[in-house]
Each structure stands twice: as C-alpha cells, then as structure tokens.
Symmetry: C2
C-alpha cells in the first residue's frame, strides 16, 4: 500500500511530463487508413519502441505482411510491437494491448484546433487526434513503467505489451500473429488487460465485461443484364429494387423488433442477478437523448436502453449498393442491387445458426414474391459476442484499483459494439480478458475535437498502475 | 409527285455528300455535360449556322444565359439556333426541332472505334457519337433544303429551325425561349415536327403520338442528429432506414402494381379503337427480352408489354441518398435518408392529383409506423404526359410520306419515357406536334458504338423531305 501511494504521488507530481509524452505522440499523424500517412504509422511504432527501450524493456516486432489497398496499391503493414518488462518467474505476467494508429482528422472537418497538436483548453481537456483513442492509454502503461523505474520501485508483475498500428483499419494480420504467438511470446501470460474503450458516461469509471457480436449480410437481387431506363422499361419487368425493398422491409420493425423467426430463441434470459447490476449504473435516458441529439429513443427507461444496447440483439439496415445515391433525380432502374444489413448478436446466439435462420427466412420471403429476378443472401462476415464475468479475480483486482484511485465502485458495463481483439486474445490464450477504459464516453474518439480530460489521463495512469499492484495479489486461477 | 421523285432520286444519288456532312458534324465532340467540351458545343452550333447560311437561310440565335455547373463553375450556355428558310405567306410554316449536343463518349468505355470519327462498317452502319442522336436527323433537314436548292425546286413549306445545344443536359433555358418566342419567331408556325426518337424495332418506321409523363418523389426520413454506430445505438433508437424501407416497400408490388390508392382511377380505359392499333405493330416479346438481356418480363404477350410501357403508369424505386452505398461492409446508422422513386404517368392522370395521392398515402403509412422519426414526402419535379392523335392531318401527312418512301404503313407508337420539349411546343404554340424518327430502336443512342444505318439516314432524308411535301397539302386546321 505504501508503494501504491508512492506511485500515485509520483504520477500526480509528474503529470506535465506525461502530458508532454502524449503531446509528442499526438504530433505523429499515424492515420492507418490513409496511404500518405502510412510512413507516419511506422514512425509512431518507432516512437513507442524507443520509449520502451529507454525504460529497459526488451522489444521485438512482428511483421503482419502486406496490405492490398482496395486493389490499387500494395502497402507495408506497420509492425506489431511486442515488449517485455520483467521476466521474474515468481511474478504473474499481465499482457496489455493497445494501438498506435489513429482515425483520420483534418482541420477542415470542423476541428477547432490543429488535430495533430495537443492543446489543453480551459476545461483541462487535452484535445488532439488519438489523445483518448488510443495513444493516451498506451502511454499510460509506459508511464506506469517509468514511474516505477524512477522511484526505484519493483514492478508488481511482469508486463508484456502487444501494440498494433492497424486497429482503425481492421487490425489486418493481427489475429494470425496472436494465434501464432499464443504458445510462444504470450506463453506465460496470466491475464490480459485492454484499455481501448470508454466510460459509459462522463463521471464514473467502469469495467467492461461484455461486447455484442455482429453478423453482416449482403442481400443481392439481380434482374436485367444492365441498368435500364425506367421510362422505357418501367411496368414491364421485375425490378430488383422492388424485390429488395420488399425483403428488407420484412427484417425489422420500426420499434426494433427483429422479424427473423427464431432469432430471439437463442437469447439468454435476464437473471435477477444480472438485473441487479443495472440498478447502480450511472446512466439516464437523457444520456442517450443527448448522444442521439433528440428524443427518437425506443425505450423510456434507462435500464431498458442499456439492456437493448448490451444484451439484446438488434438489426440495422445500412444501405444499398448499385442503386442511385447522389442528390438530385435520376430515373435509372438498377440491374443489380445489394442490400446491406447487420445483426448485433448476444449470448447465446451462434453466428452459424443466425446465418441459417436469416438465409432460410429471406429465401422463403423471396419465394413468396413470385419474382423472376434472382436473389442471393449471404453472411459477409461475422464476429462472435464476448462475455466475461465481473466476478473473475482479474475484474475484482481492477474494481479494487478503481476504488483506490477514484473512491467509488466502478460501473459494470458491457458494450453494444465489437472489439474483435478481445475475443481473439481470450480464444487464443485461454486467459481472462479485462476491458479497463481510461477516457470518458464523450471523448469523441472517431469524430472531431477528440479529447482526453487531464484528470482522466492522470487518474488513468494511476488506475493502470494500481491495477497491476492489485492483480499481482489475486489468485487468477480461481476462476469464478 | 414528280418533284417528290426528283427529290428522292437526288438524295439517293448524293448520299455520299450527306454522309460527308454527317462525318464533319460527328467530328465535333459537342458533349454538353462535360465543361471541357463546352467550346466544342459552341463550335457545333457555329457549324450548323454556317451550313444553314450557305443554303440561304436567315439565322438568328438566342442566348439561354449562364449555367451553374454543380455549384463549381459558371458556364456559358450554347445558343439556341433559330433559322428560317422561306417566308412565303401563301405557304404553311413547319417548325423542326433538333439538338446539336451529344452524350459523352470515350474509346475506353468500350467503343470499337474512335467515337468522334464516323466510320461505316460492313453492315453499312454509320458508327459515331451523335450519328443517330441527333446529328443525323438535324442534318437530315439541312440536306432536304440543300437538295431542293441544288435541284432548283421550290420548298413546299416555309421551314423554321429550332436547334439547341443542351438537350442531353436538361435543355437548360430552352423552355423560356420557346415561350418567349411563341408569338414572335414562332408566330406563323402551323405544325411542329421533331425527329429525335427511334423506331420501336429495327425493321419498320413509326410515327410517335404519345409519351408518358414522370413525377419524381423524395421521401425523407430524419432521425438522430448525426450518423450513429449501430453497435452502440442499434436497438435503442428509431432508425430512419427501417422506416424508409417500410414505406418504400408499400409503394409497388413485385408484379408492378402500384399500391397508392386512387392512382389507377385516373387512367383512361383502353378503347377498342386503341386496342386495334396494337395488332399490326412490329414487336415481339423476344424484342423486350433481348433488350433486357433475360426473361424477367412481367407480362407474357407483346401487346401487354407495349401497353404497360406506353399507356399504363409504373412506379420505380431508384435509390437512397444518405445511406451506405459502397462495396464492402459498413455498420453505420444513417441519420437522414432520402428515398427516391418516380411514377410514370399517362392520360388522364394529373400531376397535382398524383402528388396529393402519394403524399396522403405515404403520410398515412408513416403514421401507422409509430416512429419518433420525422418524415417529409414531396414531389421534386413533374412533367406531364403528352398525347397527340395519329388521325391529325400532321400525322396523316407523315404516314403518307412513310408509305411513299418505305412502301409500308408506319407503326403508330407511343413511348414510355418523356421528351419534355414536345409538350412545351404544344403548350406554347398551341399547334400539333409530330414525332418522326429517323433511327432504329437498336441505335444505342446513349451507349457505346452509337450508329445510324446508312439506309435509315438516306431513307430518313427522303422521309423528312416528302413529309414537308405532304404536309403542305393537308388542312392543318382540320383537327380531328
């Protein structure tokens, strides 16, 4: 406890140094989706390697190979940085994951300041691309190591890093490397901690123990051999758009109810124990309404909202490929259209079974249309849901760290979206994975004026460090 | 009759000269939609002015003003060329319309030859952009004047030309000029002839006496203030796409039946007289199937196909603005989407009434959805249908000309699309308008390898000239 306090005091006192490190990281525009910025992504990887080596870490890299950029370019993929701090067989080994690439950002998108110059505003918000997603958290771990080194404190655990540079562009090549290293570089890992998500709101820390999966579908209807003029052919042929809209209108109701038979049969019922965890969560209906910008919410109470975001499935229609999409008027009859929709999946839905149900239902409905067009429905990709347990010792340790740093019990949350690497680590390493966020729900990770509050950064560094202390004390084999 | 034969013989003997004139016209890439080619459109206007002046026509131009090119450029609009050949008050005055701009064409689109070099293939097809649409017909009228001049034959009518350079780009500014000149330049016009459409098939000439109208609709559904992540928000808010698909699926059945109540109440019934005109028309189901490229036809007999193309309404769904449209997978929930659809209208549907019916129906259906999103449905533009009578003396004269030149009675056709200038002339001048095509249905007017068969060009020149002779003999005031 004395060493924890010493550590926390150090972080408090040296926060300007840590902010300076974040400033240097934000200045590197490591936008992974832009080929022009690919050298910057590599430069950001080098930056981290240098910082880690300076602190005595042993660093290796893995090459994910080449990227086929929309069939136009072949690009080198930035390295996966693997680093180790300490290899004491008497200590536990904790693996931390983060990413060093960022979303695109241009001043003209509406940023108030240069997105690649970290500035602090009068509300003590550190504004800059990547501040919260995910350079702040990645540097958080490095800062923890530095603080211990400077204080002459022993690290409570062996720490392994896995840092990638392609997270914002589909983590190309990462999964294969994780699987390949599972019994090599990651062999001694006892638990995993990922700091790459956000508090539910703006006031209370949380631990995140579940994510929805997603199954994405392409519904193709093919009619004439080429696009046709609706004046000449309208009324004489089966139009693919008519069939597509008939089918897609039968997938989900305006109130969100999914119409594919059997979908809800696989959804795990809400237990009273689970229900109880929602009571203390800092979330109001107004939080949803302010995020959405109006009152188009389906449910009228906060708990229903959270349950429909976290633990019930949803189906969204995303768009149509092959049809007219510009402003203005165009009277084309598209020859072939592809409707895109996705289902967010939850325990205990199985992706394979979901695809079977969707394919059968859409095929049956298409047959009812008596159309002479042809229809193909297929799942283009699926990622399974992920569910851990807040009772696992890894989570208990994190909860204790939250109480130490913030003097409050964390919210126990799940998320509606997916973070595929979470499930990948769990499946490959067979170890518990904890999501321990640093930033707030309003950080604007993928939008303009991304920020990380100074207090979230500073308290977040403390949290990550204290978590390592706490997790060194629990029995990680005692899986609850 | 002797003068007609003399004229036809001249055309037959001088066809190479006429093809050479067409070659020189096709060589000017007067693509009105491409700002880089705008000077070529002006050049093409000058070419026609020079040709007309050389034949003794008096030529004036009207300036349609400036074009706002997608908010990016301001371009000068090419002139409307007005020309007069003869002003004998004892003769009738016939107004002919045509356009001197063309659709875009690039060799790399798949043209076998340079699109702006007229070539004749081994099937005696004159291949080049604009050959059929509409430089061939425009030069057809000029060739008629030349033939008479060279033969020392008096023109049977006073001829007025109205030639525009923006037809392929919405005829910007033309309507105002026609309305303005109705009681000035066009004051003495007795009838109008437009040669800017096609035979129904490839073997038999036709006269076209009707066009469908079109009413275009934008159906806007607005939900959240900004696009949202379907993982985070799916299942908790009313999604605009769900509402849009529900509404658009209620507009038309896969078999083409329009579901808007009241739409069919305004459709004029098929009379037995009208039914009879279909019997002799050269059109088979296989013509539709080969145009479409497969057998996705709704109706199984040729007459039903023609009636549904020409004289029954149709409704086509064109696309969605604001939703995902690229290849690949994207999990966005669009904040606002605009569904685009149009209704092809026929006698006696009134555009205003159609809009009323659509607005009421879509609004009622939206209210049934119990969505918290907002919906706006509006007509973005409408153009009325047009229907003349094949019994009008203008048509009787043209039919006689067809029999003289082709030795066959023309098919009496309508078209499913719109040619807005037709209705504009009829409304502004209160005179009969005749559509008298030169090219065949397979000329590929807006696609690659556009052609005009040598025989269609040569016989077409004869047809236009003989029509002027025949129309000089009929009583145009005797409207049937």
């Amino acid at each position: 406890m004395a060493s924890q306090q010493q550590f926390m005091d150090y972080v408090e006192q040296h926060q300007e140094d840590f902010i300076d490190r974040l400033r240097r990281a934000v200045a590197i525009p490591s936008v992974s989706s832009d080929p022009n910025h690919r050298p910057d992504v590599f430069r950001m990887g080098e930056f981290l390697i240098d910082e880690l080596k300076a602190l005595g870490a042993s660093v290796e890299t893995r090459d994910p190979g080449k990227q086929d950029f929309h069939g136009q370019l072949t690009l080198d993929l930035p390295p996966v940085v693997l680093a180790t701090v300490g290899d004491d067989p008497a200590k536990k080994t904790i693996l931390v994951y983060g990413h060093y690439d960022v979303q695109p950002a241009l001043k003209e998108d509406g940023w108030t300041t240069d997105p690649f110059v970290l500035v602090e505003d009068d509300k003590q918000r550190l504004i800059g691309r990547g501040s919260s997603d995910d350079k702040g958290p990645v540097l958080g771990w490095i800062n923890v190591v530095e603080a211990h080194k400077k204080l002459g404190l022993e690290m409570p655990v062996n720490l392994k890093f896995c840092l990638e540079g392609m997270e914002e562009s589909g983590s190309e090549g990462l999964e294969a490397i994780i699987e390949d290293e599972a019994d090599k570089y990651f062999k001694d890992v006892d638990a995993v901690c990922i700091s790459d998500n956000y508090w539910l709101g703006t006031t209370k820390p949380c631990l995140t123990y579940g994510l929805r999966g997603v199954s994405y579908f392409h519904l193709t209807v093919k009619g004439p051999a080429a696009d046709l003029h609706s004046g000449v052919f309208g009324g004489t042929i089966h139009e693919p758009m008519t069939d597509l809209f008939a089918l897609m209108s039968k997938l989900v109701q305006p109130d969100g109810k999914i119409l594919v038979p059997g979908i809800y049969d696989q959804v795990r019922p809400v237990t009273s124990e689970e229900e109880a965890t929602y009571q203390s969560i800092a979330f109001d209906l107004s939080d949803l309404q302010s995020a959405v910008g109006n009152k188009t919410n389906i449910h009228e109470d906060a708990i229903s909202v959270l349950q429909h975001r976290w633990r019930f499935p949803s189906l969204s229609l995303h768009g149509v490929e092959g049809a007219f999409y510009n402003p203005g008027d165009k009277t084309v009859v598209p020859a072939q259209v592809v409707g895109k929709f996705s289902i967010r999946t939850v325990p205990d839905m199985e992706p394979k079974k979901i695809t079977e149900l969707v394919v059968k239902y859409v095929t049956d409905e298409f047959n009812k249309l008596n159309s002479k067009n042809t229809m193909v429905i297929k799942c283009s990709h699926d990622g399974n849901h992920w569910l851990s347990s807040p009772n696992h010792p890894n989570y208990v340790a994190a909860a204790k760290a939250v109480e130490t740093v913030f003097n409050v019990k964390p919210d126990l949350t799940r998320e509606g979206g997916s973070i595929p690497v979470t499930l990948c680590f769990q499946d490959a390493l067979k170890k518990n994975v904890l999501l321990l966020p640093m930033g707030r729900g309003d950080d604007g990770a993928h939008s303009i004026n991304e920020k990380l509050d100074r207090s979230n950064y500073v308290q977040g560094i403390k949290l990550l460090g204290v978590y390592l202390h706490e997790v060194s004390d629990v029995d990680l084999e005692n899986k609850q």
